[in-house]
Structures are given as structure tokens and as C-alpha cells.
């Protein structure tokens, strides 16, 4: 690095291009034509914005994001943060964003678990099982997601009323007012669960960075560091006076009380996304495992490894190189497809932005928020996954 100057002084040849020369080389041929094209695009964009502003002025709407602090006079069916009619639009949109994130994260997690299970079941030598998996995948892949969501929504509404609801294992109630399941929460204490999770996260990252600085970071020490951080944060939480409270839902009067309640809309959306994307992930997993040649299996067997070891040490590390990039784009698609919530009445980001646009008339700003948010989610998720992908990708060679 530091001897670069010396190196340059020795090399004969033409002088290195200056800053302008670099820009010129990057811009490439056909310079005027490119400028003209971009100018026309910019002109059209300016014309569009001008027209929108003019229309807004004509119908008496002030452009800009000031409306975000106005009070929103609509209710939100469910929200991770408290929201009442009369709170600001900003808070409404935040509630929608949190709903989108909630369903996307849970969806990705459950779809991965189910997808891996289904993908492995599809590779089974049992004809009945693999045939069943084949049909599961074909049906979910070849019908519109919206149709599937309508179906799950219809099913959620057709469940019995709470009084007649059957209880699965005595604790999970499937009713037309949603799904009730036991919950475990922490109550009391100096600080709450989110703070504890944040503490655990920071602690884990700090430990991992320290391990990396000491060149001791392996899978095993990394896992130990994460477990240590989480355990420390939670014992601190318990020491500060928080007590875990387990609630089991039970019928009282006409309704079911206690426990965790998933609304029918949320349950339908989550089920639809998980079923759909588990089929896609199952196909990816199958392709990934099949991309590892049979020679690898035979060689590993010849070395005396048993099946579990072969999968863990030989097949999975190679299959992951195929699986990771494809799964990433599945996750991105799932996040985007969670916007179909608007069609079944779950208050996700799109649905709230749409309501905002309709009640304020600020459709331009509302859609800028919508598209900007999805872009931010997408780009950060793909940056994360690219970083991971670079770690598992082949070293050296061409990619």
C-alpha cells in the first residue's frame, strides 16, 4: 500500500488520467446523446411534478410533509404500538410499518422452517410423501397469492364462534375472532423486554467484535458469546424484579380472555405468506441439495462419515452457496408481497398509506413514503444478505 508511489514512479508509459479523465472514461462514448437522453427524462419528471403540484394547488392541498403531524381520524385494527383515532399520521404510518415488519419477519422465519422441512420431505424416497409434497408445491406455486389469501381469510372467518371453539391441546383456540394461544411475558422490573433485547443485542455484537479482534471467532465461540449476552441481559432483567407471567387463554362469557390473540386478518396473511413461500423455499432447498453431486456423498461415505455428518459437514456447506442468494430474493419477495394485506383488511404499511392518501389527498407524499420505505427495507436486507453471501461463496476462482 505505502510503496505504491515508488511503484508508480518506476512504471513507464502514459501518465495516469486526472480526475476529469476518469469521469470522461466512466461516462464513455456517445457523450452528448447520453446527456440529451438524461435531460429528456429529467424534463419529463419535472413536468410530472409540476403538473402534480398544480393539481394539488387547484384542489387546495398544501404540498409537503407537514400533514404528518396532523391528527388522523381513523382507527387501526391492530398495532404493536398504542394508537387511537386522533393521534398523528406519522404515528399511524409507523404503526403500519411495524405491522409490515412484524408479519414479514415472522413470515420469513416460519416459511424457512416449513420450507426446509418440506424440501427435505420432498427428497424422501417414500413415494406417498414425496408425491404429496409435489402437489403441495404445484398447487401453491400455480395459483395467485391473492386467491390464497382470500381462501385463508374465508377459512378464518368460517371458524366457530369463541363459545363453540374447539381447543387444540386444551390451550390453542381457533375462533372466528382470531387465534388464541398461550403467551409468556415479563412483567414488572425496572426496564421492559425491548430494552433487555436491545441490551442483549449490543452485548452480543460487542462480544463478537472482541472475539474477532482476538482472532478467536469461530462458529462455536460465536454461539457461546450470543448465548452469554442473552443470558446476561435476561438475568439482569429478572434481578431487577421482572417476573415471567405465563397466560393460558380460557373461555369467559362470550369471549376468550388471556394469552396471545392473533386477529383473523393477521393469521390469514401470515398463513398465506408462509404456505406460499415455504413452497418456493422448499424448491430452492431441493435444488441446493441436488446440486451437490452424488460423488460427494459416496466420497464422504467412503471416509466413514454417517448420514448426519455428511449432511452437516459436506452437503450443507456446499448447498448453502446455491440456497442463500435464492432464499434472499424469496425473503425480499415475501416482504413486498406482505403488501397484499391491503386486500384482506390487515393494517399494514400499504393499507395505512392508502387510507392516509384518501383522507388527506396527499397521495404523492404518501406514495413517496411507501416506496421509500420499501426501498430502504429491500436495499438493507439485500446488503446484509450479500455480506453473508460473500462469506459462504467460493473463495478464489470466478463467480
Amino acid at each position: 500500500m505505502s510503496d505504491r508511489r515508488v511503484f508508480r514512479a518506476v512504471v513507464p508509459g502514459p501518465p495516469r488520467p486526472g480526475a476529469f479523465g476518469k469521469v470522461r472514461a466512466w461516462w464513455g462514448g456517445w457523450p452528448v446523446g447520453q446527456f440529451a437522453f438524461l435531460a429528456v427524462v429529467a424534463l419529463f419528471a419535472a413536468l410530472f411534478v409540476h403538473n402534480v403540484l398544480e393539481t394539488m394547488a387547484r384542489i387546495g392541498i398544501l404540498p409537503g410533509f407537514g400533514f404528518l403531524s396532523n391528527s388522523a381520524n381513523f382507527e387501526i385494527g391492530e398495532s404493536p404500538i398504542a394508537f387511537r383515532a386522533g393521534d398523528t399520521y406519522l404515528r399511524a404510518i409507523l404503526a403500519g410499518l411495524l405491522n409490515t415488519l412484524k408479519v414479514s419477519l415472522l413470515g420469513c422465519l416460519l416459511a424457512t422452517i416449513l420450507g426446509v422441512a418440506v424440501g427435505i420431505a420432498g427428497l424422501s424416497r417414500n413415494l406417498l410423501l414425496s408425491g404429496l409434497v409435489r402437489w403441495y408445491i404445484e398447487i401453491t406455486r400455480n395459483t395467485p397469492l391473492l386467491l390464497q389469501l382470500f381462501f385463508w381469510m374465508g377459512l378464518a372467518k368460517a371458524l366457530p364462534a369463541p363459545r363453540q371453539a374447539a381447543a387444540l391441546f386444551g390451550t390453542v383456540f381457533l375462533t372466528n375472532r382470531g387465534i388464541y394461544m398461550p403467551s409468556l411475558s415479563l412483567e414488572g422490573g425496572v426496564f421492559g423486554l425491548p430494552a433487555a433485547l436491545a441490551l442483549a443485542g449490543t452485548g452480543a455484537i460487542a462480544l463478537l467484535l472482541a472475539l474477532r479482534a482476538a482472532r478467536r471467532l469461530t462458529g462455536r465461540t460465536g454461539l457461546a458469546a450470543v448465548i452469554l449476552a442473552v443470558a446476561a441481559a435476561f438475568s439482569l432483567l429478572l434481578l431487577s424484579g421482572a417476573r415471567p407471567v405465563a397466560e393460558i387463554p380460557a373461555l369467559s362469557g362470550f369471549n376468550i380472555r388471556g394469552g396471545l390473540n392473533l386477529s383473523p386478518e393477521f393469521a390469514a396473511l401470515l398463513t398465506g405468506l408462509v404456505v406460499r413461500f415455504s413452497a418456493l423455499i422448499a424448491e430452492i432447498v431441493r435444488a441446493g441439495i441436488q446440486s451437490v453431486g452424488t460423488g460427494q456423498w459416496e466420497a464422504a461415505r467412503a471416509l466413514g462419515l454417517h448420514d448426519g455428518q455428511i449432511i452437516r459437514l459436506v452437503v450443507l456447506p456446499q448447498a448453502l452457496r446455491v440456497i442463500t442468494p435464492l432464499t434472499t430474493s424469496s425473503y425480499l419477495d415475501l416482504t413486498k408481497d406482505s403488501s397484499l394485506a391491503v386486500a384482506i383488511g390487515f393494517p399494514d404499511l400499504v393499507s395505512i398509506v392508502n387510507t392516509t392518501a384518501n383522507t388527506t389527498g396527499q397521495s404523492m407524499e404518501a406514495l413517496i413514503i411507501l416506496i421509500g420505505t420499501f426501498l430502504a427495507i429491500n436495499l438493507s436486507l439485500s446488503a446484509l444478505m450479500n455480506a453473508y453471501n460473500n462469506r459462504v461463496a467460493l473463495r478464489g476462482g470466478t463467480r
Binding site: 447520453q34 438524461l38 393539481t55 424422501s124 413415494l127 410423501l129 395467485p144 420499501f374 426501498l375
Partner: protein
């Protein structure tokens, strides 16, 4: 060994080969025995096949609803006496798709036939040569789904070729534009794009240029899909070795002639299966048009179940729609697999394809 005996042997090892295998079979059968009988009771045994809504029970499916409302599900609010027009549109699109699917028809004529077919479909739907033109808010059902899909896919492909070429080119300005455009579109959900078509476009266009909701949706969806198609085509362009371009340049071909005569024909051969898969995804995605109130097949089926005479037979309506989509998409994905085998067999030397088959 006879064929029957061989099948029996395969079944025996496939179902009861080992102890684990027998266990899996038993568990699967147990699950199936819980799901299938109620489904069968609903769909067949307790179902009502003829009669009117009064004859239908809550326990069984009401297939009488389907036979009574099939016309509405297929054509929605299109004037009943003119419904031969959308029916003809379905046939025309089916015909051009069949022709496009067969490699022996690939050529300049087919390329010319596409815009002509779309024009014919448009004229048919909007009621050309009749006393009163039919506004697009009366179009509905399967023809709308197929029409929007075909138009958007056909119009997006040329845009996508330009985007892909720009992204691969050495022109910095155009390359940056293409990258930004593609990432912007691919990062946005389709619902958002449809809202832009519904809410922003009417405000952005001067009144003289304002056009109806269907056209606005088609316009935006075309721009949206172009980004996805561009990425697939780019993968094809990347697979062409640089020597091809260098050889073409050495022969004295300019940039456009190189692309048109040497690069693109080879790239398209590689990406056709990918494009078919994309087209399947797009056909399923057209159902989102329901969100902005266009009566595509799915929305028409929902509307059929809100008929006061036949209120609430959503399940039956959804099953019809699911069957239509499944039939189209399943055969298309089978076709894509067949085509992939055929194209790879044509590209590789005999030994390589034999090796591929063996694997």
C-alpha cells in the same frame, strides 16, 4: 417382468421398503384420512349440482352456483349480447401463445403478429364497429386478465432489452440510469405501482392527455415488469462469451448490428425458460388489479359471490378461478421444462447432452 409387476415392485419399495419408510407411509395415510373424507363429503357427496340457490345446503358445495354464474365469472359486466367479442379475445390470445410456444414458428412473422393480435383484441374489447363503444370499466373476467398480461409482457420486453443493454454498456450515464430504474422498480411492491397508476398519474398528466384506469394500469405495469424482464435478459447477455462481440467487431459490424445479429439471438435462446417462468409469475400477479378495482378473473369471481341471489358461495368461485390459473400455469411450467431440455440439447455437443441425461 411385466409393466404391472414393475409398478407393483416400485410401489412396494417406495412405500414399505424400509422400516422408516413404512412409518412415514402410515403417518402420511393417517394425516390424509383426517383431511380427505370431509373434503370429499363437501365437494361430492353433500354437494348440490343442479337447481337454484335454495337447493344448496351449508354442508356441501354448491356447484349449481358455478353453472349459473360461469358466464359472469368469465366475462363480468361485459354486455351479454356482445360477449362473443371477449370470447374471441380469449381464443386470439390462446392462439398467439400457442404459436409463440412452438419453436418452429419463431421468426419475424411472429414478431409482427404480436402487435397485430393485441390491436385486434383491443378493437374487439372496446366494441369497434358497434353503435356504442364499450368503456373499459365494463370489461372483466378472463379476457381482461389475459389481455393486460399479454399487452404488458409484450410491451415490456423491448423496454427490458434496452434496459439490459444499457446496464451492460460502457456508457456511464445510461448505465447509472438503468441501474437506478431497475432497483427502484424491483424494490417497490406491485401494489404501490398500481396506486401510482390510480392516484398519481391522473394528477401528473394534463387533462388533454388523461386516459382511463385500465390504460394507466397497463402503462405502469409495463414499466414495472420491464425491470424484472431486464434482469433476466441481462443474465443471458452475461452468459455470452466476450469473443462473440469481438468477432463481430472484427467482421466490421457496428454496435446495433452486433447486438441484433449476434448477441441477442444467442442471449434470448438462453433466457427463454426464465422468461416463461417470469410470465407465469406475472399472470398470477395480474390478480392484484383487483386492488384498484379492475374486474379481472379473481375479482369477477368475488363479485359473482356477492350476487344477492347467490350470496356467499366464495369457496366455489375461488375453486373455479384456482382451476383456471392452475391449468394455465401448470402447463406453462411443464412447457418451460420441456423447452429448457430441448434448448440445452440443441446447444451442447452430443456427448455433453448424453451426460446431462444420465445425471
Amino acid at each position: 417382468m411385466t409393466a404391472a409387476a414393475r409398478t407393483l415392485a416400485t410401489l412396494r419399495t417406495g412405500l414399505f421398503g424400509t422400516r422408516t419408510n413404512t412409518l412415514i407411509t402410515a403417518a402420511t395415510l393417517l394425516v390424509l384420512s383426517q383431511i380427505l373424507p370431509p373434503l370429499l363429503r363437501w365437494a361430492v357427496l353433500d354437494a348440490t349440482f343442479t337447481g337454484d340457490a335454495g337447493a344448496c345446503t351449508r354442508e356441501g358445495a354448491c356447484w349449481a352456483f358455478v353453472s349459473a354464474k360461469l358466464r359472469f365469472i368469465l366475462f363480468a359486466f361485459y354486455p351479454p349480447d356482445l360477449q362473443w367479442r371477449p370470447a374471441l379475445v380469449i381464443l386470439l390470445i390462446a392462439a398467439i401463445l400457442t404459436a409463440s410456444a412452438l419453436p418452429r414458428f419463431w421468426g419475424r412473422t411472429l414478431l409482427l403478429a404480436w402487435p397485430l393480435t393485441i390491436l385486434a383484441c383491443w378493437l374487439l374489447l372496446e366494441g369497434a364497429f358497434t353503435a356504442t363503444p364499450i368503456p373499459s370499466n365494463q370489461w372483466g373476467g378472463l379476457p381482461v386478465t389475459l389481455f393486460v398480461w399479454a399487452v404488458c409482457f409484450a410491451a415490456a420486453t423491448p423496454v427490458a432489452v434496452l434496459l439490459a443493454l444499457a446496464r451492460r454498456s460502457s456508457l456511464g450515464g445510461l448505465r447509472t440510469f438503468s441501474v437506478l430504474y431497475i432497483e427502484l422498480m424491483r424494490g417497490t411492491p406491485m401494489v404501490g405501482i398500481l396506486y401510482v397508476a390510480m392516484l398519481i398519474l391522473p394528477m401528473a398528466l394534463p387533462d388533454a392527455l388523461s386516459f382511463d384506469k385500465m390504460l394507466r394500469a397497463i402503462f405502469m405495469v409495463t414499466l414495472f415488469w420491464a425491470a424484472y424482464i431486464a434482469e433476466v435478459i441481462r443474465a443471458g447477455l452475461q452468459a455470452i462469451p466476450d469473443g462473440q462481440r469481438e468477432a463481430a467487431t472484427a467482421l466490421g459490424l457496428g454496435y446495433w448490428r452486433t447486438q441484433r445479429l449476434v448477441i441477442l439471438p444467442q442471449a434470448f435462446r438462453i433466457v427463454i425458460p426464465g422468461m416463461v417462468n417470469l410470465a407465469i409469475g406475472f399472470l398470477l400477479a395480474t390478480s392484484l388489479l383487483a386492488v384498484i378495482g379492475i374486474f379481472d378473473l379473481l375479482n369477477a369471481a368475488r363479485a359473482a359471490a356477492t350476487d344477492p341471489q347467490w350470496l356467499g358461495f366464495y369457496n366455489e368461485a375461488y375453486i373455479v378461478v384456482a382451476l383456471v390459473y392452475f391449468a394455465i400455469c401448470f402447463s406453462a411450467s411443464r412447457y418451460s421444462r420441456w423447452l429448457e431440455r430441448r434448448l440445452t440439447a440443441g446447444r451442447q455437443p452430443a456427448g455433453a447432452s448424453a451426460a446431462a441425461r444420465k445425471e
